[in-house]
Symmetry: C2
Subunit: 334 residues, 2 copies
Amino acid sequence: MKKVTIADVAQHAGVSKSTVSQYLNQRFDYMGEQTKARIEEAIAALEYSPNIVARSLKQKSTTTIGVIVANILHVFSTQVIRAIEDVCNEHNFHVIICNADDQPEKEKKYIEMLRAKQVDGIIAVPTGGNVALYQDLVEKNFPIVFMDRLMHGVEIDTVLLDNEKASFLAVEALLKQGYSQIAMISPFLDPNITPREERINGYKKALEQHQIPLEERYIVPSEISEMQESIDQLIHLPNPPNAIIAVNDRVLKQVLTYTKKHKMRIPDDVAVIGIDDVPYADIFSPALTTVAQPAFEMGEKAANLLFEKIKSKERSNQTQIYRFEPELIARESC
Amino acid sequence: MKKVTIADVAQHAGVSKSTVSQYLNQRFDYMGEQTKARIEEAIAALEYSPNIVARSLKQKSTTTIGVIVANILHVFSTQVIRAIEDVCNEHNFHVIICNADDQPEKEKKYIEMLRAKQVDGIIAVPTGGNVALYQDLVEKNFPIVFMDRLMHGVEIDTVLLDNEKASFLAVEALLKQGYSQIAMISPFLDPNITPREERINGYKKALEQHQIPLEERYIVPSEISEMQESIDQLIHLPNPPNAIIAVNDRVLKQVLTYTKKHKMRIPDDVAVIGIDDVPYADIFSPALTTVAQPAFEMGEKAANLLFEKIKSKERSNQTQIYRFEPELIARESC
DNA sequence: CTGAAAGCGCTTACAG
DNA sequence: CTGAAAGCGCTTACAG
């Protein structure tokens, strides 16, 4: 099955390849109506479709971007990718997706392959492990934007939730309902994973601002696999908390697993609030109060920023951090 | 920032481009140790990385595939894509994702662009609307495999759940617990959307096999947006069902929304079982009995099939349908 | 208004 | 064991 090329079209239409190329690129300024019609006819007759790989080689643009997330299975990533894909589709761009699984080596491999494939830009949730590599990209003025995680020592625009604000909203929602023994549960802390760090900080600041003494044992960092036990210890403290903030959706699930197993009533035995909205929040009993992040807008913003960089080609003078507002969705769990 | 090319490496190493290319392609058969070392050194010194677009043009392979799903936001799609991406990563392939949103025009645009970009193959959940286009691809022997939906009139291997079996499992789980007034709720029916069709058929067959008379009004096809009302009518039938099968996860959510709003107890007032497992099944009260599909294995299978086709290049003699086994996960809702 | 020629950055027979 | 040349399928000044 021989592919039909621009040469075939040119021959069929009785013109040169150059003229066909002009036609394809809408450069009709000086083209005779008849030439145009003949080319049109030839393209239809041969069912010609241009080879974009050849075009990309010449034009130095693949109209493709890469998106590197931690794991596409996480709801937040999925929503972000959907938003990015929508923006790309409007621009007739395509997106290659990559799961770094929080492994810097995997991230590195993806970045190198994406570059070798000449993608026009990259949106990444960085693992934190490839400072030199990213630094090199910014020096080459390669279009790139980060999401969800701040990476220190690299000058790259980043789209983030206002994570401290999210914790403030959670703490204040709890206080308003009269809960002041507030615990916060999180996966293990990692300075590279910005949301956890900032949400814990926000929690501390919110307590301080409301003059609630910080009880260190109310901060529970724990592997997800050991979280049932960690929660158990928390609940059996001499002065147990009467409210729990889950730092993200996966922690929330652990908390709900625990309360179900131990037949604890929410919010009577313990109030619960989660950062990250979850799809079952409404149908749960009690309906779950959460702090939602505008994942779609964030993905859209990242994509738009990337397109600006791709278009402009000039080095942006200074890197920016774009913070998005979390939103409290008050339901019944606190 | 000039890109470094194979010519630069050749010059730096004092050899020809051909030799560098041999090196890059691991054709060391006759290469002198010294030549090799010099090239190696030059590559490192110049931080050279081959331009895969140029290679693709010559080799007619982009080591990239396209995946077209209905909507990446659906949990099933996300899992399938994750599995596909993992297989691709092992093969050093990349995946471009596309959301067709059940719109044939969108699907068409994606297929044409993917082909123009010379992807090596496509995995798609077809909308049903582009028979001619797909037919054309199979005639050109282009590697392609379908998932989740059967498309009649096109000879393409398809990976599917054994949907009828899923309904059998659901019906039988219900019967075993003594529920025989079984309703089935589904979004509007569409012959192109195989799972719904087959699950309804399976439901009918299962009832028949167990000699339960079919009550037509127990089959409720309804837009998601009108589903609350449809469920309400069902529940207020003179002889209402005592059990409901939700044909998929989105319907399940509608059912649970209804039961919560109307304070119906599950399974006492109505038993519930869902096809598609949901992430909150375990933590729900009562825990939800579901019929799960092996989404990851299905995605993996689709990817492996596609790679076989990409490798073999010879037309497969006859198209196959690969059915995967659903699994009943018995919990507390029936 | 249109065409010949060079070039994008690789690979691949083929010659020596 | 290595290099010169042609070619993959386009685009783009430039000439006429």
